[in-house]
């Protein structure tokens, strides 16, 4: 048995410790917001937060996440009002939407480390892939989210 804390709840899971966290959240817990894109940590569609750090869950074992705080897109906010989600809404970022959970999770974690990022810092900090190529709007939305988060703090 493995106990994992996911979105604030302790979950007892009868799984092999080497099970990737991606498949734990999707198939054991039914949290399908986190997506499978490549399985080799190249695309970031599987991005979750582990102790607040953006983590590609397809290559993170359940065993390695024991005792840590795991946050999925479903847990990012209770009402869709996280600054990143609000900025994504205002800029109408998603097209097919499949990569967007990962993009939002990556951006949310990124903005905690870089609350007022430059374009250069965004370039280096956000490496999730998008096949519909929503990148121009993602960039705008990241700047917008940064401003929104700052105004909420003020």
């Amino acid at each position: 048995m493995i106990t994992l804390k996911v979105n604030g709840k302790q979950r007892q899971l009868d799984i092999e410790p080497e099970t990737p966290l991606l498949w734990v959240v999707r198939d054991e817990l039914g949290l399908t917001g986190t997506k499978f894109g490549c399985g080799i940590a190249q695309c970031g569609a599987c991005t979750v937060h582990v102790n607040g750090v953006a983590t590609r869950s397809c290559v993170t074992t359940a065993g390695s996440a024991v005792g840590k705080d795991i946050l999925t897109i479903e847990g990012l906010s209770p009402d869709g009002k996280h600054p990143v989600q609000q900025a994504w809404l205002a800029e109408d970022v998603p097209q097919c939407g499949y990569c967007q959970s990962g993009q939002i999770m990556a951006a949310a974690a990124f903005l905690k480390t870089k609350p007022a990022p430059t374009d250069d810092e965004i370039d280096k900090g956000l490496t999730n892939l998008c096949r519909c190529c929503t990148y121009p709007r993602i960039r705008k939305a990241v700047h917008r989210a940064a401003k929104l988060a700052a105004s909420r703090k003020a």
């Binding site: 894109g37 989600q85 190529c133 990148y135």
Partner: protein, 726 residues
């Protein structure tokens, strides 16, 4: 670029539901101009009976919510929102109260095509739907007005439908649509109302926020891969590496010994493992030692294929276009000849959601959950493969995590059904990324041999092109293409708007064992690279500016408007620094004219950076400029990944590339600055927008590289081209 985004009610107000409304209110039938079968007379089934329907497309709930049914797939191109806008434009409902759901493919079978083809291809979703979706909305509105007029005993002409209500200003009475829907159901119109012309639009043509954005922000949007059913099991599958080879043997024991494994299913050319969890199935599959029996193409590689296609351009051709006498003009004394051979590779679709399908087979019923561009084809394939009558097959279409032309052949569904037949449980079969890339149906590799002649003034006198490319229809088994002429193989070259006095376009359809299919922008993708690069060569040979050279060959005002604007906004002619260059390309495809100017920097070491792309599109009429802008940006970056790195090469008869470490995709940091200009010139025509902007990118970038370095790129992708200047 500024755009006005309609933001009525930014709170979470709209849902793309995948289940139908439950029965409860009054059934409404309506006579649409087309032959519409009476809805309530059909055999009752949950998918047919929908009592609060105004017609098959529109349901109005008592709380005034308007539910619009979509006969096209939403794969990011924004068609769902546009289709709802068409209805709302005429219905005059409150935009904050609209909802949508997929129309039922099963009902389409039972009601003999009430939802028509339900195909989402060819950048045609909006432009083929606008008339009848507007009509559906207008018809519903007119009957709601008549219902109110009747109830108030007032003349219908004095009643006004607006904002989800009908009112009679003279007597200060009003009723919501929801309150009137029941009565409206009983009304037959003497005459169907006329629909609005674009000049009368209040909603269509305005940038409108997408209806499907909110669920895509919080993980609640469901894609095919997210399907969960009681008792469902999971399957992982791998096909043989060589196309056309077969499975020889596999020892199931190592898999069966692992936890949760239910079955190892041997297919003709693939092995699937079924388990209680996807990861267990995949891990077991990876462990298996599988023996494949080599097929007839076990020694085929890209070097051979590349040569075969180039050789074919010198061989016999089927004539696709003949104007004047190009051969004579090429042979004329004093003619300056330009010749070039261009080549492009196979390209993978790589939707971010790998292909997958979930099926539940019962003796008298089959259910399929899938993201499909063609749910009718999925339905008929499932019926055929299971032996269950089509009337008893249900396809529950989902959001597609990218389509790009891949999600119409349903190879993943074939696998899922084969497995479900064996294990006799609901099965979700998921393709790994490697399976998705290696069992794709590629944008075909192609080669073209060009010959052109210029007179002393540098004007073209002849244009001759010989194309060798695979036939998509033959590869898909859709048609033998008996006359050897496939429109996709020659589009944009045979149909060029350039006014060459003598034109000869020939094609040789050449299929190998590599499967090919429809890839976003299809024939326009390779043929625009071919012709827009070569026209640049011609301009250079004539000693002329590529913009002016093209301009002199075009006489259509719509073409010239796009060309002139892209040159202006693209700063054409302004000096650029060393190692920097500008290139342009323009094409008419899917009924729209799209042009791009690209700016690149090429370092002395030969590294390419695409700095900026200026894009102009005339699609004549625009439903939602917001999502059109998304498509232009998206298509550009989709095309950039392809021109820079895209190739699926063949070794030992099978594809080499498999995942993002070998099939590279563009990142945020590599995306150029993109400026888009939408100049819909109006009129009766509607042009498509989902695919066109992919086509001009490759030649615009390569022409820019020529401007920057003097090196002409004739074979893609760019990663294989040596641009070193040190």
């Amino acid at each position: 670029m500024t755009r006005t985004v309609q933001t009525e009610g930014l709170n979470r107000r709209t849902l793309l539901a995948t289940s139908l409304s439950a029965a409860g209110g009054m059934m409404i039938g309506v006579a649409l101009p087309a032959k519409a079968a009476p809805i309530f007379a059909e055999a009752a089934s949950p998918e047919t009976l929908s009592p609060r329907e105004v017609n098959a497309w529109i349901v109005i709930e008592p709380d005034n919510t308007v539910l619009v049914r979509l006969a096209h797939a939403e794969m990011g191109q924004g068609t769902a929102t546009a289709l709802v806008m068409m209805v709302a434009e005429e219905l005059e409902c409150d935009w904050s109260q609209v909802k949508c759901e997929y129309a039922s493919a099963n009902r389409n079978i039972r009601e003999k095509g009430v939802y028509k083809g339900m195909n989402t291809v060819g950048s045609a979703g909006v432009r083929t739907s606008v008339q009848f979706m507007q009509q559906a909305g207008a018809s519903a509105r007119a009957r709601l007005v008549e219902a109110a007029a009747k109830r108030w005993n007032a003349p219908a002409a004095e009643c006004v439908a607006a904002g989800g209500k009908v009112s009679h200003p003279a007597s200060k009475r009003s009723l919501t649509y929801g309150a009137l829907a029941g009565e409206a159901a009983t009304i037959t119109l003497v005459k169907e109302p006329a629909i609005k012309t674009p000049a009368q639009y209040k909603l269509l043509g305005k940038s409108t926020a997408r209806l499907d954005t909110p669920p895509k922000l919080d993980g609640s949007a469901k894609f095919g891969i997210d399907t969960r059913l009681p008792g469902m099991v999971y399957a992982a599958v791998v096909s043989c590496p060589e196309f056309g080879a077969k499975l020889k043997s596999v020892d199931e024991a190592p898999a069966m010994a692992r936890r949760g494994i239910i079955a190892v299913v041997k297919l003709d050319d693939a092995v699937a493992v079924v388990a209680d969890r996807y990861w267990r199935a995949k891990a077991a599959l990876d462990q298996l030692h599988i023996e494949w029996a080599p097929g007839p193409n076990a020694t085929v590689d890209s070097a051979q294929l590349d040569k075969a296609y180039v050789d074919a351009t010198h061989g016999p051709m089927v004539s696709a276009r003949k104007t004047g006498d190009a051969a004579a003009a090429l042979a004329a004394p004093g003619a300056k000849l330009i010749e070039a051979v261009y080549e492009v590779p196979n390209l993978a679709h790589v939707p971010m959601e790998p292909l997958n399908a979930t099926v539940h087979i019962q003796p008298d019923r089959v259910d399929v959950w899938i993201g499909s561009q063609s749910p009718m084809q999925a339905l008929n394939m499932a019926a055929q493969q299971t032996g269950v009558a089509p009337e008893n097959v249900y396809v529950h279409n989902q959001f597609l995590g990218g389509g790009f032309g891949r999600r119409s052949a349903h190879d993943e569904l074939t696998h899922a059904i084969s497995v479900a037949k064996v294990v006799k449980k609901p099965v979700k079969l998921v393709w790994s990324r490697e399976q998705d890339v290696r069992r794709d149906r590629y944008r075909p590799q192609a080669a073209v041999a060009f010959k052109a002649a210029l007179d002393e003034a540098g004007k073209p006198t002849a244009f001759d092109s010989r194309i060798a490319v695979g036939s998509l229809l033959r590869s898909l088994g859709a048609s033998p293409v008996a006359n050897g002429l496939e429109p996709m193989a020659v589009e944009c070259i045979a149909t060029t708007a350039y006014k060459f006095p003598n034109i000869d376009v020939g094609v040789m359809l050449k299929n190998t064992h590599v499967p090919v299919g429809f890839w976003r922008s299809v024939g326009a993708s390779q043929n625009t690279f071919f012709i827009e690069s070569f026209i640049d060569e011609m301009a250079h040979a004539a000693g002329q500016d590529p913009y002016k050279f093209r301009r002199a060959l075009l006489d259509r005002p719509d073409f010239l408007a796009v060309l002139d604007l892209m040159a202006a906004k693209g700063d054409w002619g302004k000096p650029m620094g060393p190692g920097r260059g500008r290139g342009m390309a323009i094409v008419e495809t899917y009924g729209s004219i799209t042009g791009q100017v690209a700016e690149v920097t090429v370092s002395p070491e030969g590294e390419i950076k695409v700095d900026r792309v200026v894009a102009v599109m005339d699609c004549y009429n625009a439903a939602n400029p917001n999502t059109i802008e998304q498509q232009i940006e998206g298509g550009i970056v989709y095309g950039l990944s392809a021109v820079l790195w895209g190739e699926v090469t063949i070794k030992d008869g099978g594809p080499v590339q498999g995942n993002f470490n070998t099939y590279r995709l563009m990142k945020l940091s590599e995306t150029p600055k993109i400026e888009t200009y939408l100049i819909p010139s109006g009129g009766a025509k509607w042009g498509g927008v989902g695919e066109p902007s992919v086509a001009p990118v490759a030649p615009a970038v390569c022409n820019a590289i020529f401007a920057a370095t003097g090196k002409r790129v004739r074979k893609l992708p760019l990663k294989n081209v040596d641009l070193k200047r040190v």
